[in-house]
Amino acid sequence: MTVDTLMNWFAKLGDFPELAFILAVLICAVPVFLFIAVYALVAIYGELKISSFMQDKVGPMGQGVGLHAGKWGLLQPVADALKLILKEDIIPTSADKKLFILAPFIVFIGAFIAFAALPFNQNIIIADMNIGIFYILAVSSLGVIGLIMAGWSSNNKWSLYGAMRSAAQIVSYEIPAALSIIAVIMLTGTLSMQGIIQHQSGFVWGILPNWIIFQNPFTFLAFFIFFISGVAECNRTPFDIPEAESELVAGAFTEYSGMRYAFFFLSEYANMFIVSGIAVTAFLGGWQSPISGILNSPAWGLWWFMSKAMFLIFAMIWFRWTFPRLRVDQLMNVCWKGFTPIAMVNIFGVGIWHLMLG
C-alpha cells in the first residue's frame, strides 16, 4: 500500500503522472489521518486510565447522569474530542490572526507527514524512501515552527515563554537524537526504514534477537539516549517545560481553545507515536518478531510493530506520572553537557566495536 504501488496501478490506467501522484498521496493520507485520530483516542484513554491506576484512582468510568461515557468510560475520549470540536473558537483580539490560525495545523502537519515513512509491517509503508529515517528526523522538527508561531502569535506572555522554551529544547535535543541514529546508520549502511529493519533479522550471541539495541553495548546506550531525547522532543514530563502546567499555565497553548487546542493535543500524541516508531525501527527490530523466523508474517509484523511502539508510549506515560519536571537550564545542561558528548563518543564506540568484533 505504498504510494509507488498506487502510482504504478494508476499508470496502467493512463498517462497522467502528476494527477496520479496527487491521487495516490490523497488516498494514502486518509487512512493515516484516521489512524492518527483513532490511535490518539486510544492513547488518551490509555493515559487517563494508566495515570489513574498509578494514582490510586479509577479514572474515567462513564459515571454520571443520563447518557454517560459508556462502560469504563470507553467513550470518554470521543466525548472530549466532540466537545472540543463544538466549542467556541476564540481568537484573541490582540493575537496575530493568520499565524494564530495556522500554528496548530503546522504542528500537526509536522507530525502527520512523518507517518509517511513509518514501516508498520513488511508491506504497509506509505513511501519507502531511501532516505526514510533522515526524512522523518527532518520533518518532525517542523512542529517547532508551529509551536513558536503559536506562542508568538497568541500575544500572551505565558505562550511566549512556552514557545521560547520549546524552541530551545526541541532544537537542542535533535542533536543527541540524530547522533544516536547515526550510530544505527553506521551499522546498517542504509537510511531506508525497511532496510534498517531487514538488517535486524536473526540472532545475536545465539539467544537475543539481532536487534540493533543488542548488537553492541554502545548501541544499547544509544537507544536510551535516543528515547530520552525523543521524550524531550515530545515535550513530555520530565521535559515538559514548554507546557509546564504549574509554571506557565498551559505554555504555548494558553490562548487556544476548542478545535485548535484539540489539534495540539492530537499532534502531541502523534509525535509520541513517531518517536516510538523511530525507536522501534532503529533499535528494536521494527516489525521483526523477537524470535526470528517465527510469527513473522505481515499480520504478525503489524502486531509486533504496534506492540513495541505501544510499550514505549506506555513508558512515556509512566515517566510523566512519576517524575518531577526539570528546570530550563538543567534541561539544557542534560542535553549539551550530558547527552551530546556521550552520543558523540558513542559513534566512535559503535564504529570501533563494529570494526573489531563485527
Binding site: L48, S52, Q55, D56, K57, V58, G59, P60, M61, G62, Q63, G64, V65, G66, L67, H68, A69, G73, L75, Q76, V78, A79, D80, L82, K83, L86, K87, E88, D89, I90, E245, V249, A250, F253, T254, E255, Y256, S257, G258, Y261
Partner: protein, 163 residues
C-alpha cells in the same frame, strides 16, 4: 458552533443532534483549576484519589480557554470580583459556572460585616448550579456536578427557540 446555534426547526434529526451535543458536553466537562479559599481544598480533595472527579470525565485545566466549567470555590472579594468576571469572559462558550459553598453563593459567614466580601458571585457572573455548604462535602460538589450534567443534557443547542 456559533453560526448553527438555535437555527433549526425542531425535528427528529435536530433533536438527536442536540442529544449528541448534549452528551459530548455533559460527559467531558473540563473544569477550571481555580481555587479561591477554603472550598478550593475541598475541590482538590474531590478531584483527588478518593472521590476522583475523573470518573465523570472531569479533567482539570489551568487555562480558562480550555475549560468548560468554572467552579467558584470560595469567598469572592471585591478585589477579586472583577478578575473572576474577566476569567469567566475568557472562557470559551459553552461555559458553565458552579458556585461552590455559601461564601460564593451569598457571602456566607462573611455576610454581615464583610465590607470587602462580594455577597454572592452571581452579582458578577451567571451561575448555573449553587452548591450549599461551608465548605460543601465532596459528595455535595459531585451532586452539584451531576445536576449540571442534567442541565447540559436538557439543553437544545441547535433547536430554534420558540418565542
Amino acid at each position: 458552533m456559533g453560526v448553527l446555534e438555535h437555527k433549526f426547526q425542531d425535528n427528529v434529526v435536530v433533536a438527536s443532534m442536540d442529544k449528541l451535543i448534549g452528551w459530548a458536553r455533559s460527559t467531558s466537562p473540563w473544569f477550571f483549576q481555580f481555587g479561591l479559599a477554603c472550598c478550593a481544598i475541598e475541590m482538590m480533595a474531590t478531584a483527588a484519589s478518593r472521590h476522583d472527579l475523573m470518573r465523570i470525565g472531569m479533567i482539570p485545566r489551568s487555562s480558562p480557554r480550555q475549560a468548560d466549567v468554572m467552579i467558584v470555590a470560595g469567598t469572592v472579594t471585591m478585589k477579586m470580583a472583577l478578575r473572576v468576571k474577566k476569567l469567566y469572559e475568557q472562557m470559551a462558550d459553552p461555559k458553565y459556572v458552579i458556585s461552590m459553598g455559601s461564601c460564593a453563593t451569598s457571602g456566607g459567614p462573611y455576610w454581615q460585616h464583610g465590607y470587602h466580601v462580594l455577597k454572592g458571585v452571581d452579582i458578577v457572573v451567571h451561575v448555573d448550579v449553587y452548591v450549599p455548604g461551608c465548605p460543601p462535602r465532596p459528595e455535595a460538589l459531585i451532586e452539584g456536578l451531576l445536576k449540571l450534567q442534567e442541565k447540559i443534557q436538557a439543553e437544545r443547542p441547535l433547536t430554534r427557540k420558540s418565542v
